[in-house]
């Protein structure tokens, strides 16, 4: 039980790290270094070469581990998004007190007038 019943890569009898065999070529890579670079761009992150290598290995391990969900038959099962079902939470459209400009800008790394200041967006 617990972590049992999985064919790979988790050892069946104990809570141990799934053996990361992906980079030995035994299992197909779930994510390649190219994909890591692409996803990093989507997430607005950048990595050194060394970090990319490490992330590729670690993300592969994790993605291999979560593959065990494929053992579960979910045909016709509704996805759960919130544990407690709530209808849309509407409220009356009434103007309430909000943060004044000065306080809203107080934490800004850079500001100008009543605006947040950022580096140039277009050439």
């Amino acid at each position: 039980m617990g972590l049992q019943g999985t064919k790979r890569p988790v050892s069946s009898a104990s809570i141990r790290k799934p053996r990361a065999l992906s980079h030995f070529g035994r299992y197909p890579l779930k994510i390649t270094k190219d994909q890591v670079e692409y996803v990093a761009h989507l997430a607005r992150l950048e990595f050194s070469e060394q970090e990319k290598e490490r992330f590729t290995t670690q993300l592969n391990d994790i993605l291999l581990y979560v593959e065990k969900l494929n053992e579960v038959d979910t045909t016709g099962v509704e996805p759960e998004t919130h544990a407690i079902a709530l209808q849309n939470a509407f409220r009356d459209d009434i103007v309430r007190e909000s943060l004044p400009h000065g306080l809203s800008l107080a934490n800004a790394p850079s500001e100008s007038g009543n605006c947040f200041r950022v580096p140039k967006i277009l050439e």
């Binding site: 039980m1 617990g2 972590l3 049992q4 019943g5 009898a13 104990s14 809570i15 141990r16 790290k17 799934p18 994510i31 994909q35 890591v36 996803v39 990093a40 989507l42 997430a43 607005r44 992150l45 950048e46 990595f47 992330f55 670690q58 993300l59 391990d61 994790i62 581990y65 979560v66 593959e67 065990k68 969900l69 494929n70 053992e71 579960v72 979910t74 099962v77 509704e78 996805p79 759960e80 998004t81 919130h82 544990a83 407690i84 709530l86 939470a89 409220r91 943060l99 306080l103 809203s104 107080a106 934490n107 800004a108 790394p109 850079s110 947040f116 950022v118 580096p119 140039k120 967006i121």
Partner: protein
Amino acid sequence: MGLNELTIHELQDRIREREITSTDIVTDVFRRIDAVEERVRSFTTVMRESAFEDANRADEEIRKGNLRPLTGIPIALKDLHCTRGVRTACGSRILHNFIPPYDGTVVRKLREEGAVFVGKTNMDEFAMGSSTESSWFGVTRNPWDLDRIPGGSSGGSAAALAADECIAATGSDTGGSIRQPAALCGVVGLKPTYGRVSRYGLVAFASSLDQIGPFTKDVEDAAIMLNAIAGYDPMESTSVPLEVPDYRSFLGRDIRGFTVGIPKEYFIDGIDPEIDAAVKRAIAVIEGLGAKSVPISLPHTEYCLAVYYIIAPAEASSNLARFDGVKYGYRSADGRDLLEMYKKTRSQGFGAEVKRRIMIGTYALSSGYYDAYYKKASQVRTLIKRDFQEAFKTCDVILTPTTPTPAFKIGEKTDDPLQMYLSDIFTSSSNLAGIPSLSVPCGYTRAGLPIGAQFLGGHFQEGKLLQVAHAYERHSGIERRRPKL
């Protein structure tokens, strides 16, 4: 014995009798902080000056006879509650200089109930972790053994409480971040039902899982804290408009005739034998009180962690998109244009574990992978929730170990993310199902490390949970120890 070693209800009694003042308590708390904080490192911000001002105000109210449930009680806040005028850094460089302009709802409510704030406690960066090692502010140590982790992500709150540096503390729990450190530090930790406590002003990690709850020295204090923070909040649309009962009124009630479910999936090979034995002794104690234990099955238990480690990073990758160096927090000076500024700010501002989870989440939500990961995980989540619905047809509460092992050594799992994730193996199910659960001390290992037992209940059944845990605590026969610091 310093006043800092007492519980909320013990202090309340003595305040009511005018034997002590809030200033007396706060004085003892800061004496303790001065003595041990250098070794434990529970706090990221210590609020000494404002705490004594709060205490003065509390003493004024006490003199007038205006006693609220938490009047004059020193409480530590996890450093992800927005606190007006006090830095809220969330264990991250990217928020290291963020001073919120408002109080979160829980902070406001605690203030209104008379609490004195001692400081902001250390945590894994953005609450992502099980050891409080990933904080930009350094590692917090377990007061029971300074070479070990206090658990996480709310490790600072658990350690501060176990070290008697506060009377109670708050935490947040997305996959076990209250219950796991509570178990490893030998205190009570409660994760309420999803929607029971408002998260307005809480830095968001995974919005369908996050919940705020208390760390306390005993179960009665947990009821007092939940009374103070529970309830609907128009500022938080997932908070549930249900009446809040007086949770204290459940305490001391008989548990004769209760049915306690023991899920076989939580007693597996690989859990520490001393933990297994301690939790089985707890089952015997409960039976001795007239409750009946029944074996149950939660067949999808083995999938909880995999579901959790898709859903939580996916939601985190979206929530953490807001940290872009524009409105608040750290900004890298290296970016020549906006895109480069975003990338450099986020890459320099976030630590490795946060980046890892943003990457997993972004990948799982990216075009072509959504169905295979997020949708699949959400479907299995439905099945996990159904397991509990079935179980609660036949039992009042469920009893399990909180963690598979006692506190591990600092550095033991930092290079191995998956091994670290397995710390949440018994706790993430409650978040996925949205049910309340509570960790209560149930013994010590031979080496003297605390062990926790976890009680789980149906939605909004916190009263029943507290009732059973309180009965257990009173009759467990476990001596109350304090860490030697």
